[in-house]
Symmetry: C2
Subunit: 128 residues, 2 copies
Amino acid sequence: MGDSAAFTERELDIMSVLWRLGSGTVSEVRAELADQPGYTTVLKMLQILEEKGLVRHEEEGRAYRYHPLVEPDEAGGHALRRIVDKIFHGSAELALARLVSERPLRAEEVERMKALLDEAALREGEAE
Amino acid sequence: MGDSAAFTERELDIMSVLWRLGSGTVSEVRAELADQPGYTTVLKMLQILEEKGLVRHEEEGRAYRYHPLVEPDEAGGHALRRIVDKIFHGSAELALARLVSERPLRAEEVERMKALLDEAALREGEAE
DNA sequence: ATCTGTCTACGATGTCCTTCGTAATTTTCG
DNA sequence: CGAAAATTACGAAGGACATCGTAGACAGAT
């Protein structure tokens, strides 16, 4: 235990870019950040993320290419569990209520989400 | 803008207690924390939360009673939006997939969640 | 009156976050 | 070759986070 601290703001920014791109050099990551911090700032953050075991790097020419070592699903699971537990009293239902009120959903998306719930209900049914 | 920074770990712990209890004195909040930090630590955190405008206090006998000034829905909305945007590429569907795989859901809960989605779809339909 | 327990106020501390400057290295280009 | 550009390494610095110790105020009991 004790391994899973929440991402800080900047760490999340950077991990988000790596998840989206698959991998990235310092320059590539920096170019994707909305407010562009100094080059060495991004480098430093990546070095710290590497110390924490959240990314690794390999050499690519002169530069390093960084790869994420945690999956978005895993990170998202931790983050969601934390929020549901601490803010929504453990209720996935309340969290979903807020989630759907946050942003408009397309009709197809709603259908797929209902299908997800059906699958979940099915798995539960089988378990008994 | 710039008002909504994510809660830190301890801040969230404490806000969570206040949301659950409705309000609390330092002692009451402290008693609810899993690992009990020193009394003055909890007091200090509440004072800092007050500086940030997240709680207020009123006198109650000799002690202060602290009240949350942000609603869990509001805080949860920010937190969910942050996670969905940065980790799930803005997809509520992916977030829900992870949410339902995190913990088992009761059948009635699944039904109510589907109803929530229907309502959301309805609102969308009306909008056009 | 004084002692004891509970409370707030204040300041110190150590760690982490985030920023970046500077130096050293290497490649590339004129 | 020598200058310029891109890169990593290192360390410093300011601020926030989270911890607590100590001091002072006050109420209640003896």
